[in-house]
């Protein structure tokens, strides 16, 4: 996404404009007013006496609110500014904007204020591809309002534009004729409702439980959230700013699915993924568990409620499987995309089990673990049945929806993401290495749950035996002994897909790596082919498909790196994990503390700054979560029964760090760390409250 765009958001409703506040959508620049995966405004352009505005400054007041200060005409020739405008806008049951025009002159001003308005009602899924083809677009003026609509059978979306002062409406927009006295001001407000109409004219959501928030409520929620999360103190400003920004973004992305009984979880990322993704919700919840368990509890519940129950090739659905994503746009509605919901992912089910255990370790909430026993057992059954496609005990994926589904059912889901070193693509089914790690971890964790909370000792024993056997075979079948790392995947014949990738870092997090191989894995991860200086690339530079701007074939993902660093600590590589945390924090400085979804894999030595990936989401939930997980990793936080243990390993740059009020089953705890340059400190002291 291009820089210089101004975004405001609230859950899955958001506005992206230029720095004047204007919206002029083009296929490459996804500006507009969006809600539920549909663009409700594609043009919103203000002019005064025929002159477009120029931006003086933009004030991002809150994540849901911004203010634009502008003047008419080009600024360069404006030696003598007579007029200025502010456009104050926010998300609130649609999109609202208050326009104020000030006359700074000694004489009256006659103004024609024009707003051009239109909408293409594009589905987020088609925004860069094809124009709308199936339904009918219409525009009409009625009762002092402008109504823009799109109808295809019963699928009916409308944008209704109204103003607080009378305007002259026409099919292309609206006009005000204003006379301003010297030093006077003029003001009007716009409200754009985004409606999904049922055949009876009401909004389809009107009969459902939903909880729109006022700005006051959002502000209150944000303040409560900021007061709830642990307080960070340290002597590195960038880390403080990145933490603060990440925490605010995680609140901005909170999203309550319709009728979800007030549960909210993070939408994945703006602008492309403002919806529920199984994997993203789970990974973000895992990243932020030391800071809040709210997201984890909601994610576990909501994904359990939508757990797969039938075999459906179109949705790549199987009983027990956790979903990949839900979309609300036209293509999902008409089954042109399988996303209502789509189950084409092999990792979400495993990660859901991991989150269930990690959640209980932090919170002690055994009640939820018991409540979700059926779903957890169904997920475990899925591993041994539908995922065990070749019958050899590995987790495989075989896409059944070949027309509109995904080919790769793992986090690197681009078509070219899973390749051999020489660039060939393997056949299906595929078993990527990190899936086996997750399966191992899921079974080990489920064994703990079964023993402690389901009182099922024999099931626990069986899960541990299965996990141990999986680890043994994995270390035999995936290990490439002459190169000293694990294969990216096994192909349809059970042969190794031998590209060197960041996936091997996830294996450390899962614990499936044999102890005596961990050093080699860490050396590969921090070697020149994978480590760019800012972070670990998705794919090594010597692999044929490596591309520093390849989405899953060379870029650096903050989230990927955060889990790898966590894994390094698991195997005792504290200094290496700290190096990753330090490098990513330095990268965050170039993004004003708001890490994008991914950035380019160029060598740090070459570019000196991290280069933005062109279409990266920002804010992005897992990237915001990465900062929090890095802090956990640096402090070495880990629940041990009813206590929180910590064991800091800090990057060189960081001399001192304190994380206060860490919530969990122990109440609240404080953790402290000192860098190498400081005096050693006692780490074992724990202060319950």
């Amino acid at each position: 996404m291009a820089n210089g765009l101004i975004k405001i958001l609230d859950g899955n409703t958001f506005v992206v404009s230029d720095d004047r506040g204007d919206i002029e959508a083009t296929p490459n620049v996804p500006t507009g007013f969006f809600s539920f995966d549909t663009r409700f405004l594609s043009q919103w352009v203000l002019s005064v006496n025929g002159q477009r505005l120029s931006s003086l400054s933009t004030d991002n007041l809150q994540y849901y609110e911004s203010r634009f200060f502008c003047v008419p005409g080009p600024t360069a020739q404006n030696g003598d500014i007579k007029l200025s405008l502010t456009r104050h806008r926010w998300i609130g049951e649609g999109f609202r904007e208050r326009l104020t025009i000030l006359n700074h002159g000694h004489q009256h001003a006659d103004l024609t204020v024009r707003l051009e308005v239109s909408s293409d009602f594009a589905d987020m899924a088609e925004i860069t591809t094809r124009p709308k083809a199936f339904g009918e677009l219409y525009t009409r003026v009625e009762n002092g309002r402008l109504v823009l609509g799109y109808q295809r059978e019963n699928f009916h979306r409308e944008s209704v534009v109204s103003t607080s002062t009378p305007a002259q409406f026409d099919n292309e927009g609206l006009t005000f004729v204003v006379r301003l006295d010297p030093h006077d001001r003029w003001e009007t407000s716009f409200w754009v409702q985004a409606l999904a109409r049922a055949p009876d004219g009401r909004d389809v959501r009107s009969g459902l439980q939903h909880y729109p928030r006022t700005n006051e409520r959002k502000q209150q929620d944000l303040q409560e959230w900021l007061a709830h999360v642990p307080e960070l103190h340290c002597d590195w400003d960038v880390l403080l700013r990145t933490y603060r920004r990440s925490v605010v973004d995680l609140d901005a992305l909170r999203f309550t699915p319709v009728s979800a009984e007030r549960l909210h979880l993070p939408a994945a990322g703006l602008p492309w993924f403002m919806t529920i993704f199984g994997r993203d919700s789970i990974l973000t919840s895992l990243q932020v568990l030391p800071f809040t368990s709210t997201y984890a509890a909601a994610t576990l519940r909501l994904l359990a409620a939508l757990q797969g129950s039938r075999l459906d090739d179109f949705r790549d659905e199987e009983p027990g499987k956790i979903l990949h994503q839900i979309r609300y746009g036209e293509q999902a509605a008409f089954r042109e995309q399988p996303t209502s919901p789509y189950y084409g992912t092999a990792d979400a089910t495993l990660l859901w089990l991991i989150l269930l255990d990690e959640y209980e370790r932090w919170t002690g909430d055994e009640r939820l673990v018991r409540e979700l026993e059926d779903e957890a057992r169904a997920a475990l059954d899925w591993i041994d049945s539908y995922a065990n496609i070749r019958g050899d005990g590995y987790v495989w994926y075989l896409p059944r929806n070949e027309r509109t589904g995904l080919q790769n059912h793992c986090w690197k889901d681009s078509p070219d993401a899973i390749s051999y070193h020489d660039g060939r693509l393997p056949g299906f089914p595929r078993a990527t290495c990190e899936l086996q790690g997750y399966a191992y971890d899921a079974k080990m964790r489920a064994a703990r749950i079964a023993r402690r909370m389901w009182n099922d000792e024999s099931f626990a024993d069986r899960l541990e035996r299965d996990a141990a056997e999986l680890k043994r075979r994995f270390n035999r079948d995936f290990w490439i002994s002459d190169r000293g790392y694990y294969a990216l995947a096994l192909d349809a014949d059970g042969s190794q897909v031998d590209a060197l990738s960041s996936n091997i870092g996830h294996l450390l997090w899962s614990g499936i790596v044999e102890e005596d191989r961990a050093r080699q894995i860490v050396d590969h991860l921090l070697g020149p082919n994978l480590f760019s200086g800012w972070g670990i690339r998705t794919l090594a530079t010597d692999v044929v498909r490596y591309n520093p701007l390849g989405y899953h074939t060379g870029t650096v993902w903050p989230a990927d790196n955060s889990f790898i660093a966590w894994g390094m600590r698991r195997y005792g590589f504290g200094a290496e994990a700290a190096r990753l945390a330090g490098a990513m924090t330095q990268a965050a400085e170039y993004f004003d503390g708001q890490l994008p979804e991914a950035f380019a894999g160029y060598d740090r030595e070459r570019t000196r700054y991290p280069v933005m990936y062109p279409a990266a989401c920002r804010p992005h939930a897992r990237s915001a979560g990465a900062t929090l997980l890095f802090i956990r990793t640096m402090l070495g936080l880990d629940p041990v029964d009813n206590n929180l243990s910590y064991d800091p390993a800090l990057p060189d740059r960081l001399g001192r760090i304190e994380l206060l009020n860490i919530p969990g089953r122990w109440g609240r705890f404080d953790a402290f760390g000192r860098g190498r340059s400081s005096e050693p400190m006692e780490h074992s002291s724990r202060r319950p409250r």
């Binding site: 019963n154 039938r310 090739d313 839900i326 036209e330 919901p341």
Partner: protein, 127 residues
């Protein structure tokens, strides 16, 4: 023509208990239009115990789905799905939608659905 909706509800009622509904505690109502007139079906669930019946006097319910008989038959036979229909407004829901998502678990596999293991065997032999 067989009334597949009636068959579905009768079969559900005959089952008496379904573990998949264990977490629902509430009443679902289906208003199924056919030839312009709605048939009202009630599904009462208490901790997995289920009663399903038709009524001419529709009571309030925790979740109500207004749709056509034809669409409902496509839903329970796995040919279409609840969320897609809601987005298209071919079905309109009131109340607590979570109940409807859990109810979805009772719907059948679509015809010609594959177990991925069987598909592997099928395709694998031809590769």
């Amino acid at each position: 023509m067989a009334d597949r909706a009636a068959e579905f509800f009768d079969e559900l009622n005959g089952r008496g208990h379904d573990r998949r509904l264990r977490k629902i505690d509430g009443t679902l109502r289906f208003d199924l239009a056919q030839d312009g007139r709605p048939a009202h079906w009630i599904v009462e669930v208490r901790r997995g115990n289920v009663k399903a019946f038709r009524t001419s006097d529709p009571p309030p319910a925790d979740c109500i789905l207004h749709t056509t008989q034809a669409w409902f038959e496509r839903f329970v036979t796995g040919e279409d799905d609840i969320l897609a229909a809601l987005l298209r407004a071919d079905a309109v829901a009131e109340g607590n939608l979570q109940l409807m998502f859990v109810f979805r678990r009772l719907t059948a596999n679509p015809a010609q659905a594959h177990d991925p293991r069987d598909l592997y065997q099928l395709r694998g032999k031809n590769r």
